[in-house]
Symmetry: C2
Subunit: 345 residues, 2 copies
DNA sequence: TATATTGATGTAAACGATTACTGATTGAAA
DNA sequence: TTTCAATCAGTAATCGTTTACATCAATATA
């Protein structure tokens, strides 16, 4: 592959002129410009980005840490990031770290090695103070998950309010026995949703039954939703509504409920969270909280870019959510008794 | 961030020695090694990979072109690639190009710019001779899709035989009116599956009805499967079995059939392709061809790495597939007549 | 006409690593 | 004791750009 020197020789100019033509900032005489451009074409010259990056002391590259790209929720956020990256001329390394700290750190070390100019974290756990060590020195932005006790810029929704919206809907529709399928992870969103769930019940004068709460192990998977719903609905005095903290859990919960012979929503209302596309594939379509995933990703990207350029960025960006009513939720009709008998184990 | 020079000064050695210690090939006296290591720690030195890459004339980076990460089929292949990349110390840029040639070329140009050492293409169309131009000069491997007329290394399965396996199963189970949901794309897999579909019917002495074939527009989506099944099953003399060239199409087809009042598999057998995890989420679980996605990705990565090291690599790697029988397929029982009446438009 | 100003171009020094080459030291062989 | 090879460390060139600075010609100003 030809270098600038060869281009310069062929065009009979200095390499400085070649560089100037290529970057097109300072003025160069038209005939020289033409000579350089011709030489570039004839030699099929392509700039060596490694050399350029070394000289400019940048990489035009970001790292993105995600727990799991297979999850359509993350996939949509990434789509937003991708579009923004394209717009700003950035590339990115996408890493599936499954939230393993070791791996996370190994990847963030790329910032130190000049392999990346900034980072976006999609699944920062509560209490992850080590992230702060990076964020102090390098442009780091958190997306969807964050810990409010650290001053690291983040983009998310108001998880507490979103859950209150769900609970308001359920309670005002007559449900009094409301269960929730949560996860045993250390995400702020999880703890906020749980807090809102409890607060809503308490404020409505309803008891907070620990038997109505399930903490699924690990990830937001269909299987976990299935199992949790099974165990929730197998109870004598089972809940009439299930609030699931993700759509994949809700889809699993619906399947689990159906498998036990319950109709959704007639016998059990199920509400999800996120609004991934699978919510409208299988009936009943899932009533859920719509998160502006694409925008969350896109905004996060804007923030890193601004940080890279040493601009001031807001720490706490919350985008609007929305409760969308579909088929899996219905007012409580009081027709549950007949089903309690057919519950197996 | 400290450089080698600072480390060298602090350790009172030359930068050559620092480099030698860091790369650990040539021998360095133990006390010097220690001094260098101490200096590295004290200064929190991290090598600048841009500089290293410039000097070594490599990037340790790959580009991966995929039409759509959201599709779980591609996601699994990428998981295989990711693992291999990790093993070999490579990073990769993942690009969703949606098969747009312009974009594809723009990204492959990174090979010329020394931004990547090799490329893996997940969705090369038939007749894409321009890919060959890159493949001649740079390490390029194709994964899942390829064009047999070009000598570019690729990893895939035997799509013709896999489809013959499906058709053998259907025909030997008494189905004679077999439809297929294909796509109007330019993939070799698509044309091979269609060829096998026609051949199987012909060889079994069954007519190839063009009315039983649907070419969905664009992508392998749930929606397309839904619509295509609807139109196939709305016919007077509708097929009793549908072979879908992807699982997402099959899931859509099952939903479409159900929406029309058909039972799957009692009234219509539906068979998919790929074996993504969604096949076993909703009943009926989908009978499908299992592709070793992870291995396909992993093997493709091995091939690029070997090519990068100028080793000889095989051109045509085909991995084994398998037909797995689940709930969505059943022998033809002849009980269809009663349903033809309830078919709407 | 002499001088200051402007603007285009070239020269050469970075950027931070790797590595060919050179030189010094040591120990073994003659 | 001399010679030679082997081992290890240092010097400096190199990778391919960008860019501060120097140069020079042309124009404007006095």
């Amino acid at each position: 592959m030809a270098t600038m020197i060869e281009v310069a020789n062929r065009a009979n100019v200095s390499i400085a002129t070649v560089s100037r033509v290529l970057n097109g900032q300072s003025c160069v005489a038209p005939d020289l410009v033409k000579r350089v451009q011709d030489a570039v074409k004839e030699l099929h010259y392509e700039p060596n980005f490694t050399a350029r990056n070394l000289r400019r002391n940048e990489s035009r590259t970001l790292v993105i840490l995600t727990p799991n790209i297979t999850n359509p929720y993350y996939a949509n956020i990434i789509a937003g990031i991708a579009q923004g990256a394209q717009e700003h001329g950035y590339s990115y390394f996408l890493f599936n770290t499954e939230g393993k700290r070791e791996l996370d750190e190994q990847i963030l070390d790329r910032l130190k090695k000049h392999q990346a100019d900034g980072a976006i974290l999609l699944a920062a756990e509560l209490g992850a103070d080590w992230i702060y060590d990076y964020a102090k020195e390098y442009p780091v932005v958190q997306c969807s998950e964050f810990d409010p006790q650290f001053e690291i810029p983040h983009v998310s929704i108001d998880n507490y309010q979103a859950t209150r919206d769900v609970m308001d809907y359920l309670i005002s529709n007559g449900h009094t026995r409301i269960g929730t399928i949560s996860i045993d992870n250390r995400f702020y969103s999880t703890s906020e949703r749980l807090r809102a769930y409890r607060d809503a019940l308490r404020e409505a004068g309803l008891p907070v039954e620990e038997d109505y709460i399930r903490y699924a192990t690990g990830e937001y998977t269909f299987k976990m939703g299935f199992k949790s719903a099974h165990s929730l609905l197998a109870q004598e005095n089972r809940p009439t509504a299930l609030f699931c903290i993700s759509d994949m859990l809700a889809l699993g919960a619906i399947a689990g409920a159906k498998e036990m012979g319950f109709r959704v929503p007639e016998d059990v209302t199920v509400i999800g969270f996120d609004d991934v596309e699978y919510t409208t594939m299988f009936h009943p379509y899932v009533t859920t909280i719509v998160q502006p995933c694409f925008d969350i990703g896109h905004t996060a990207l804007e923030l890193v870019c601004n940080k890279i350029q040493h601009q001031q960025v807001p720490t706490n960006v919350l985008l609007p959510h929305r409760l969308v009513l579909r088929e899996s939720a219905a007012p409580y009709e009081g027709n549950i008794a007949k089903f309690t008998s057919c519950v197996t184990g």
